[in-house]
């Protein structure tokens, strides 16, 4: 019989990975963070199997893991968030051109808008799913998605005019 981890957490790895990648823009680091949180959730299987919002828990744990990593490597002070260290471009050179372009496209947006834009456009999630994922209200999701799309549109128009 498959464990709770294998049936409920393991299938979420791709979406989670891309979200962490959006934060850190470093493949190896993103994979490390996922692995750490997976080890923790594996220990807590029982507790998590009755958790009302498993995805939300995983995302929150991943964010904490990333913050802890940056704080212990002295890149962040206790009060700073991920925004402070988010690199404009992917850290590791060997990255697909499409990934690099998406990161550049998103770089000027506030983190919340980047996250919501990605969850909608790349992962194809509903407002409700995004709200659970990021533990924000559906209203917040709609507003931020609208703002993100408006900014992306402006960028595209600017790019077009420049040729």
């Amino acid at each position: 019989m498959k464990s709770f981890f294998e049936t409920h957490i393991w299938p979420k790895r791709s979406k989670l990975y891309r979200l962490v990648y959006l934060w850190v823009r470093d493949r190896a680091l993103a994979e490390d963070m996922i692995q750490n949180v997976f080890e923790k959730s594996f220990q807590k299987e029982k507790e998590l199997s009755i958790h009302p919002n498993l995805s939300g828990w995983l995302v929150k744990s991943l964010k904490n893991e990333v913050l802890m990593h940056y704080r212990s490597s002295k890149k962040l002070d206790a009060l700073d968030g991920i925004e402070e260290v988010q690199a404009d471009e992917p850290v590791n050179e060997e990255v697909k051109e499409s990934v690099r372009k998406v990161m550049i496209l998103l770089k000027d947006l506030p983190l919340k808008q980047q996250e919501i834009f990605q969850l909608r456009e790349v992962e194809g999630m509903t407002y409700e799913e995004i709200a659970d994922y990021l533990e924000v209200s559906i209203e917040q999701v709609k507003v931020n998605l609208h703002r993100a799309r408006t900014k992306i549109r402006e960028k595209m128009i600017a790019l077009k005019e420049r040729g």
């Binding site: 981890f5 791709s14 080890e39 799309r149």
Partner: protein, 142 residues
Amino acid sequence: MKERIEELLEKYWEGETTLLEEKELKTLLNSQSEFQEEKSLFGLLESYGQEEPEKVFIPKTKIRKLDSRWLSWAASVAIFTASFVGWRAYEQKQQEQQAYEEVMQAFALIQSNMAKGQEQMQVMNEIKYLNTTNQMFGTVKE
């Protein structure tokens, strides 16, 4: 079809499309030669969506955390038990040794008393040189 695309795009940028409409929009765009920018944007996002983690694996075993407090308790109990058992074994050995010595001493005592008794019997040994009872008691005159 173009009008439908433009309508959907407008809705899209306003953030009012449903997931279903977004899917429809992307499908429609694929069959169009125009709308290059939008097509390339959606193409990029789709390609990014195929990025997968490579070095992530299912954790193998549950790591049991040993409580160090209990561990030190267990260790002291083990040491205590071991020394008690060891001490008991030593005691027993000592007792066996003592008993053995006592027995040997008793044997030695018996042995020496036996020797004394045998010495007393030496006289009897000489009797065998006398050949008759008359000789022994001197009742026959020669």
